[in-house]
Amino acid sequence: MSEIALVGNPNSGKTTLFNYLTGSSQKVGNWPGVTVDKKAGRLKGHPNVSVVDLPGIYSLSPYSPEEVIARDYIMGGNLDAVINIVDATNLERNLYLTTQLRDMGVPVVVALNMIDVSRSKGEEIDVKELSKWLGCPVVPISALKREGLDDLVGETIRAIGTEQPVPKVFQPKVEEAISAVSAVLAGSEPDGLLRWSSVKLIEGDEAEREIHADDLAEIDPIVSSLEAAMDEDGETIIIDGRYNHIAAMVAVSVKKPDVEVVTLSDKIDAVVTNRWLALPIFFAVMFVVYYLSITTIGGWGTDWVNEAVFEEWAIPGAEQWLTDMGVNDMLVSLIVDGLITGVGAVLGFLPQMLVMFLLLAILEDSGYMARVAFVMDRIFRRFGLSGKSFIPILITTGCGVPGIMASRTIEDDRDRRITAMTCSFMPCAAKLPVIALIAGAIFNESPWIAPSLYFIGIFAILFSGVVLKKIQGFVGTPAPFIMEMPAYHMPNARTVAISSLDRLFHFVKKAGTIIILACALVWFLSAYNWSMAAVDVADSMLADIGHAVSVIFAPLGWDNWMATVATVTGLIAKENVVSTFGILFGLEEVSEAGDEIWANVAGMFSSGVAGYSFLLFNMLCAPCFAAIGAMRRELGTWKDTALAVGWQCGLAYAAAFVFYHFGTLATGGGLTIGFPFAVAVLALLIWLFARPMPNPEAGADEGVVPS
């Protein structure tokens, strides 16, 4: 069994290559930091070779947790070969990592990816020359257009077990120092890593210095005399040395056409990052995403599925069929009124989700994501977060689990934790059916409902960022913002299709597992009373439970027991809100047309304000079990996870409470009894936000580098 790792700069095409090599469908996107975990697969055609896709790294010094994962895996020493994916359109920067990898003694094959783009720009790359300088095979490929991939696999298999000459990239003075340090270390490091460790020691790397604490007395004089001779610190000597070597290598092996044109990316950037236009453009983009997916195209598809597929065909058809087969009445009811009606209520929304996933995938593959992070940085910074937090927010629009995981790309420990704790305030695709249902039932299908919740989500994150930092005593300014802005390109049809179908499939799978289980439970509780006699919904166990719990939500303007039950099942997974309504109203035998479900839903709320309060609570409260699990993984402790979930539910309650009582007053409903309390809650929220930092001395350290 051999193991090959895909290593390269962020956004260089590692996952695109990995998907091809192993037949997987891992997420690809045009921004740095798409992959945040390592993923293994079998090399097609070589069952005894495993390929590992890693998060992108600029160097072997990690700055954020996903980079630590990549570095630790590479340094773990189990590798038989590395495929170093290099963006051919940008050799000068990409080869920096290559020179580091070449110091590590593991066989490397350089894959010159995106050769299609490089060619279309009229660049010529002398592959033989590069290979000579780097001392390892270099293969031009296009992972996207699938060119040169057989060559790459062949070269890689051949490279396993070979010993490649290590190029001397530094000027003689530096190489002498490296040799001198190596001589001191000899014997204490495996031969392959001798040069690597020596270079690290010259750079003054803390971790390496700790390992070789005993030898420092001999090593430090070598390093200081080098630093004195070059009039630079060791770190700068090494980094400059690598870049100088690369500049020389690129000068002889790459021919670029002389024409310096303002690229299309520059022109687009001038508009989308423009001081005045940037935010309106982003709002417009998100409005269009929701308008197309909920109100128009997606909405039409959903209407069709609900009416033609479920109401006219699946539900009566299944009932007929089961009855004809002589199936027991109770089982028919479970299957038809419980499972099919409940799961169907969720599956009916698949067209809306598909349109949404398609649009998000197009955004993700275009290059716009990174620009939004840049534009948002200046706003987020005022609230103590950086623009990096915006990538998880954008991803959560599809699903909270990968969104929470995406917080790994944030270097600063505090910013990262706050982001993981709060990004599920955003409306994810599973919340979409809830929004569509309420918007249709109560707000005459207004296209503003979904975007309003989107921006309330962003506001809730910024607000919580400030409050939670104060609660946890995190002080200090957010870490500096550095992020590569990839060139825009036309989204690739295959990438977009795979990514959206993959996510859609994920929902279908969830509907067939956790949702169907929840439906069975809801059906059971709603069809029987406490002495197990079949009864009307209104007399069922569920009704009793709902009535008991609904007092909690009465102050929010909706003490309806069915809305209460839906909200509680929604804590498991947000799709349950809709499936629970489906089952409850289905059992009342009024679900012939979507409009009637709407009338029923509308009937649960005394006013539009109460309906929106219900939405607000369901959007902001604890997301779902899966997202809570993801939060636990990123935060590391149940204590912090509980704090996050508690805060989410508390804020959701406070927001819906304040909204309902102020909203009722504003819409002419007069002063409610709860109004004075709403004023008090609002005052408390403002105080939490505006109060001075509890203890300003603690924890004012710089950005944290985990290792």
Partner: protein, 70 residues
């Protein structure tokens, strides 16, 4: 002068990066090394997108203030 004061479209060569922390090393890892050419692509309230070694990189004002160009 620092990069913060460079005009949009202007190209300069990096002299030095001030400070001594992980951000400095990260900038250097990403190609902000002595002698490298930087061009300011755009600026939005102190935050910049610059081009270094053929790549566009966004940095905030606090970092731009630490990059000395000439």
């Amino acid at each position: 002068m620092t990069l913060s004061f460079a005009n949009v479209g202007e190209t300069g060569s990096i002299r030095k990066i001030l400070g001594d922390d992980s951000s400095r090393k990260k900038l250097m890892d990403m190609g902000f090394v002595e002698g490298a050419e930087v061009r300011v692509v755009c600026r939005v309230s102190g935050n910049l997108i610059v081009e270094v070694k053929g790549v566009r990189i966004a940095i905030d004002g606090s970092l731009a203030n630490r990059i000395i160009v000439g």
